[in-house]
């Protein structure tokens, strides 16, 4: 039996109860976006590793909206077709066909990869990559990876203008075959970065504009 331990026991119990309540109550934030690691299978096996990593394309080349609009945007098929009107398959496959054709002494045939065929189907091109009036163009329904709750207003422009790297929030996309949710996108994650930036901006000699943690920066 405890001697003089009554208060200790009492507080231990209280703390336990409060902690338990907190854990239960905290479950309410889970549904709104703590989906770190979410990595859905996309309708087209598009590789960010290849495009942004190996080929070194700039993020803003395709996600044009990040500088000029709230939304970075998913590029339309017209953006893809900018390159893929010419590039219809992986380099290895084209090389193999060229070698095969040389070996067989014929003109190399056009090789169309299965994934890019989905793109051509979407824009309504036939086997010869000519517009086919019989086909109805059908946009590609991608799956959204980084998705904020609807009551949050997020605007890419000020973040890009401030010089934040895309990777800071989206992670090393250039290494991802399939895009994966990097940050937890919780409110605390946003707020704590804003706080840090506010402190940085308030430091003597800082040129960056003031960063606010006002509710109405994001919620209206």
């Amino acid at each position: 039996m405890l001697t003089g331990g009554a208060p200790v026991a009492a507080f231990a119990l209280c703390a336990l109860a409060l902690g338990l309540a907190a854990v239960i109550a905290e479950s309410d934030v889970r549904p709104i976006g703590l989906h770190t690691g979410y990595e859905p299978v996309q309708p087209v096996r598009y590789s960010h590793r290849l495009h942004a990593g190996e080929l070194g394309m700039d993020c803003l080349a395709c996600h044009v909206g990040a500088e000029t609009s709230r939304h970075a945007g998913i590029p339309g098929a017209d953006v893809c077709m900018g390159c893929h009107a010419q590039v219809t398959a992986g380099f290895d496959a084209v090389l193999a066909e060229r070698e095969a054709a040389e070996a067989e002494g014929r003109e190399p045939r056009r090789i169309v990869s299965a994934e890019l065929r989905k793109l051509y189907d979407a824009v309504g091109l036939d086997a010869e990559l000519r517009p086919d009036p019989a086909r109805t163009p059908q946009p590609i329904a991608w799956l959204r990876v980084h998705d904020l709750p609807d009551f949050v207003y997020f605007d890419h422009r000020p973040h890009v203008a401030r010089g934040l790297a895309c990777q800071q929030c989206h992670g090393p996309v250039q290494t991802m075959e399939r895009v994966r949710q990097f940050a937890d996108l919780s409110m605390g994650w946003c707020v704590n970065c804003h706080r840090q930036s506010a402190a940085d901006a308030a430091a003597p000699g800082a040129a960056a504009p003031h960063v606010s943690t006002d509710c109405a920066r994001c919620h209206f």
Binding site: A21, A22, E26, D28, L34, D184, M187, G188, N192, T213
Partner: protein, 465 residues
């Protein structure tokens, strides 16, 4: 000496009971089968409770719009009921704690039931702040727990948050106080029981064995809890009153409110205790324990607190007049002569005029009259909160937004449901828990040793041999 005391004073318990009599009297109702009257009462109460559950379910599923509120009147039945029930609870604490501290032994017949009433009333009260929320499923946001929002805490400046802590503490302390006092009686019940009932009671009685050491700590704990509960009960209704007193709305914005609300709460609580006791006395055959002396004492409390309430009403009006603030003055003119004057005059009649009848001994000693008056006071005190909340809101500063209020069927059903909950719990309490504090009653039996007078007791061992 003891005899002299008994000559001077009516005995607290009638019928020359022995300790064993007390035990069998107190435990008989919970050990025999329920009476038809109990079933009838329980049926009515449970039906009301079901009605309330249905109404609340419909309201939560559909929207607060199923209440008669509007852009001007954001609170009406909900917070009226909340304040009403919190007030009802106050007499229980007062009887159990304050009277304990003042060594008022007549409390022993009524303290258990009064404490139970407190707990049930606070439960009824607690439902209203919860369901009055537009999104009650997010009610846990009023608690300051660590979270992933930054973390985002709560607004410690909001009286509604104070309410959370006040009501939470009040409920917890009341429950602990009640249960601690109940343990010895649960042990008695345990020792009288067999089978499953005994198993359950063994668990609930926490191994109580009547050891002198435990009794000593038990008494200390009770006194400490009473000492804590006394300022607590004052703070709770003071905090509830700050919901209004800290607001800018004329008719709410009054520094008088904390004492005014506390005294009103005691007033309404004693009325409710009287109502319940007078019924329980008859139904549970406790005439020997709840004697006219108890009723008389409570009537005196009622007339005293009722007069204080009347004083508060007058002070409120005087303050408004003396403030020379036109909106403040208007709100009282509007209460008395505006479109909701009927509610105001109902309040005055029930709370100020009716209790004055209790100055007359003949009325005090007529149990039916007291019963009716206690009901009248209950009604009046409900209207007091309604008048304060609704009439003040309907007509505040900007005349364009003046509005009116009428309850919907859902609100009325919810109010009835809260009574259903209260009486359902109370009837279950009567059925399953010793309704009188048996151990304490035994200690105040005429042959028992008065507290601190063990000389007397040791001097007369053969008195009742």
């Amino acid at each position: 000496m003891t005899d002299a005391r008994h000559v001077l004073d009516e005995p607290l318990i009638g019928g020359a009971k022995s300790a064993a009599d007390v035990t069998s009297d107190v435990f008989a109702p919970i050990e025999r089968r329920a009476t038809a009257r109990w079933w009838a009462g329980f049926g009515v109460a449970a039906s009301l409770l079901l009605l309330g559950v249905a109404a609340v379910g419909y309201q939560v599923a559909t929207g607060i719009g199923t209440w008669g509120l509007n852009r001007t009147v954001g609170w009406a039945f909900d917070i009226t009921n909340f304040v009403f029930w919190v007030g009802i609870g106050h007499a229980g604490t007062l009887i159990s704690a304050v009277l304990l501290l003042f060594r008022q032994k007549w409390r022993t017949s009524i303290n258990r039931a009064a404490e139970a009433m407190t707990i049930f009333a606070v439960m009824c009260a607690g439902i209203f702040p919860l369901i009055h929320m537009g999104r009650p499923w997010l009610a846990h946001w009023v608690f300051p727990y660590p979270n992933l929002r930054g973390p985002l805490w709560v607004n410690w400046r909001s009286p509604l948050l104070w309410d959370v802590f006040a009501i939470g503490t009040y409920f917890t302390i009341s429950l602990l106080f009640w249960y601690v006092g109940l343990i010895p009686d649960l042990a008695t019940a345990r020792d009288r029981a067999r089978g499953l009932r005994r198993r359950v009671l063994e668990w609930m009685a926490l191994g109580w064995d009547g050891s002198a050491r435990t009794w000593a700590r038990h008494e200390t704990a009770c006194v400490l809890l009473a000492a804590l509960a006394t300022p607590l009960v004052v703070s709770v209704h003071s905090v509830v009153s700050t919901d209004f007193a800290t607001a800018v709305i004329p008719g709410w914005h009054a520094t008088l409110f904390p004492p005014y609300f506390v005294i009103g709460a005691v007033f309404s609580g004693f009325a409710m205790v009287l109502t319940l006791m007078l019924v329980a006395r008859k139904v549970m055959a406790f005439e020997d324990y709840i004697t006219p002396r108890h009723v008389g004492a409570m009537c005196k409390v009622l007339v005293f607190t009722g007069t204080l309430v009347a004083l508060a009403y007058l002070t409120e009006v005087f303050t408004a007049w003396y403030s020379a603030s036109p909106p403040e003055r208007f709100v009282f003119l509007n209460r008395a002569f505006g479109p909701m004057a009927w509610a105001f005059w109902t309040m005055v009649t029930c709370n100020v005029l009716a209790p004055q009848l209790l100055w007359f001994r003949r009325i005090r000693s007529s149990l039916p009259a007291v019963f009716v008056l206690s009901l009248v006071v209950n009604v009046g005190m409900w209207f007091e909160r309604f008048v304060i909340i609704v009439t003040s809101l309907t007509r505040d500063f900007v005349p364009s937004s003046w509005s009116s209020y009428a309850p919907t069927s859902i609100e009325i059903a919810t109010l009835l449901g809260s009574f259903g909950l209260f009486f359902t719990l109370f009837l279950l309490f009567c059925r399953f828990v010793p309704m009188l504090a048996a151990a304490e009653l035994k200690s105040v039996l005429p042959h028992g040793a008065p507290h601190g007078r063990h000389d007397d007791a040791t001097a007369g061992p053969g008195r009742n041999a």
